[in-house]
């Protein structure tokens, strides 16, 4: 097999001078590769878009919420109501040292925030601890977040969410130092949180008026009760392994059966993220299946058309044989035509995909849709390999053409 520029030119001539035939043949592969790569890029983009919703939310967070007991325990009947308390926070900190942050939170739903009688916003007043920032990461536009001193001294200060800020301060500017009224109490604004996360832990951060939790407990007469306790594990700690111990600590303090799972509702975001991951693994699998199927169908199309083409070219191949082409010359010619055709179609497919994904990236700024360089190279390599496979059947048929066939009438 001669693999020099001459042979290549011969192949190129044959392909370019039978344009419509080449175009038809290559289209299947072009389309298959486009489908596969475009769907892969699109899938990644949509995954990124979905993950954006979790932005600023610690991925190994666990949240505890109290619920009715379902088992009788130590003389208590089942169906009893109980509540998480401020003391549970300290308890968990002491008993489960793998936890980095243990932070209580309580929410007052359907509150409103008013600013000096002329602007009004619906809001959720959330009582939180200073280290709640490690659960839902704030994006401070103005001022600062609540700190330990605010909590300890029970200051009447607040951090407001983006939507609340926009409605109370439509004129914009730094609101820090100004006062807003939530419920019956005035709070001094000390910061604005512009976090756009769509995760909602007892109220979306955009709608929140964050105040120190002891203040909330006192003003809204909650005693020492809290709605939920959020926790973040130390780096490398799998939260699901701590669940039983957390359950035991809380159960002991509140006299319910540690095996009474419905009594303590535990949300593990790790599992949530795993679910999303699993979902996209499934979606990706589907994309590969469909994409590879399309490419395969395209390849079979190439093979088919080339088979017909070889039949059409019987006399041409016969002439080539009569004037001195060996069967190997014919084999290499057909194989190289196949590889060249599929590769060229593959390159075009990749270019078209990159173009389309670039348009998508323009349409959804900040979302990565584009396929990687090496993914494209790998795809091209696979397509060339496919060209060899698809060339096999037509090439073997072409090899069976005898020089005598040159005598056939065209």
């Amino acid at each position: 097999m001669k693999l020099d520029i001459d042979t290549f030119k011969e192949i190129l001539d044959t392909l370019t001078r039978n344009k419509s035939r080449s175009l038809l043949t290559g289209f299947g592969v072009f389309w298959g590769l486009f489908m596969l790569l475009f769907m892969l890029g699109g899938g990644n983009g949509f995954k990124a878009m979905l993950m954006k919703n979790f932005e600023g939310f610690a991925t190994n967070t666990t949240i505890l919420v109290a619920d009715r007991t379902t088992k009788p325990f130590k003389g208590f009947k089942d169906g009893r109501w109980w509540s998480l308390e401020t003391g549970d926070v300290e308890r968990l900190r002491l008993m489960v040292p793998e936890l980095e942050v243990v932070s209580p939170s309580l929410s007052v739903w359907s509150s409103s925030a008013v600013r000096e009688e002329y602007s009004y916003a619906d809001a959720v007043v959330k009582g939180i601890d200073a280290d709640y920032r490690k659960i839902e990461e704030p994006v401070m536009k103005y001022g600062r977040y609540l700190n330990e001193v605010d909590v300890k001294q029970e200051r009447k200060v607040c951090v407001i969410g983006k939507r609340v800020y926009n409605e109370l301060f439509p004129e914009g500017g730094d609101p820090c130092g100004k006062y807003i009224k939530a419920g019956a109490i005035y709070y001094q604004v000390i910061g604005v949180d512009f976090s756009a996360s769509n995760i909602s832990v007892n109220g979306n951060s955009q709608d929140a008026v964050l105040i120190p939790f002891p203040v909330a407990q006192k003003i809204y007469r909650r005693g020492n009760r809290v709605d939920l306790v959020a926790m973040v594990g130390k780096p490398g700690v799998k939260m699901s392994t701590l669940e039983d111990r957390i359950r035991a600590v809380i159960a002991e303090a509140h006299f319910f059966d540690p095996t009474d799972k419905p009594a303590l509702f535990i949300i593990d975001t790790e599992q949530l993220f795993n679910m999303v991951d699993t979902l996209f693994t499934g979606v990706n699998l589907l994309i590969w299946l469909v994409g590879l199927g399309t490419i395969l169908a395209g390849a079979i199309g190439v093979s088919n058309i080339m088979l017909v083409t070889v039949k059409e070219r019987t006399v041409e191949i016969g002439i080539r044989r009569a004037i001195g082409a060996t069967p190997r010359d014919i084999l290499s010619q057909i194989m190289m035509e196949s590889v060249a055709l599929t590769s060229a179609a593959g390159v075009l497919g990749i270019m078209f995909t990159v173009g389309c994904l670039a348009v998508l990236e323009k349409a959804f700024p900040g979302t990565p849709f584009q396929i990687g360089f090496w993914a494209a190279v790998l795809a091209l390599f696979l397509v060339a390999l496919l060209g060899v496979v698809t060339g096999l059947a037509p090439a073997s048929r072409a090899m069976a053409i005898k020089p005598v066939d040159a005598m056939l009438d065209e």
Binding site: K2, T14, R320, I323, G324, P403, M407
Partner: protein
């Protein structure tokens, strides 16, 4: 003797066995200008195919320039065809998507001659046949006579010992036929190429110096 056939037999086995060549013995010297005549079905095309190593024979001996042509590998067969024999076909059999000069170059491509060298050589041959201006035209842009001259150039370019022509004038009008036959005669004279022309046209056979008649697979000179 350039071509030496001894008792060649050939049977086609497509359904009913067809004994086409029944013991053909034939000798052709180098430089001869021979025609093979016969009615259709007489076996003349089969004889041509065997002479041109396009087809095998069953029994007998075919020596080409002293070499026994029997059970050749595809590779050897291709090599002999390429270097020893030039073909001219009735329907020209040029490759339609190649220009005249590219068609003429093709045998040299399979010899591995460099592109520039074979292009120059092909242009030289086209020039000798008066087709220099048509070099970059495709076959469908040329007349029958021109196409046949391109085919002759393609047959000549490898300096073959023999040129085998199968009804070279079959698709041409009488005037062009005469021109092509004169050209073949001239090439035979000047280049000393052995010319074997298969035909059923007596006026073509008249132009040759020797006529071999074949009937029902037997030579009757």
């Amino acid at each position: 003797m350039l071509i030496d056939l001894k008792d060649i037999n050939k049977t086609y086995n497509n359904g009913q066995p067809l004994h086409v060549l029944k013991g053909v013995t034939l000798g052709i010297e180098a430089g001869e200008f021979v025609s093979i005549m016969g009615a259709s079905g007489s076996g003349k095309s089969t004889l041509l195919n065997i002479l041109g190593i396009l087809d095998n024979y069953d029994t007998g001996e075919y020596r080409l320039d002293g070499k026994l042509i029997k059970d050749l590998s595809e590779r050897q067969g291709a090599d002999y065809r390429n270097r020893m024999i030039g073909f001219i076909f009735q329907s020209f059999n040029l490759i339609s998507f190649k220009t005249a000069v590219e068609n003429v170059e093709l045998p040299l491509f399979y010899q591995g001659v460099s592109r520039r060298k074979r292009h120059a050589l092909a242009m030289e041959y086209l020039d000798r046949l008066g087709l220099k201006d048509w070099a970059s035209h495709y076959p469908n842009e040329m007349s029958g006579g021109q196409k046949q001259r391109v085919a002759i150039a393609r047959a000549l370019i490898t300096h073959p010992r023999i040129i085998l022509a199968d009804e070279p004038t079959g698709a041409l009008d009488s005037k062009t036929s005469v021109e092509v036959m004169d050209l073949l005669a001239q090439l035979n004279r000047e280049e000393k190429v052995t010319m074997i022309i298969v035909t059923h046209d007596p006026t073509v056979a008249e132009k040759t110096r020797r006529t071999i008649r074949i009937k029902d697979g037997i030579i009757e000179e």
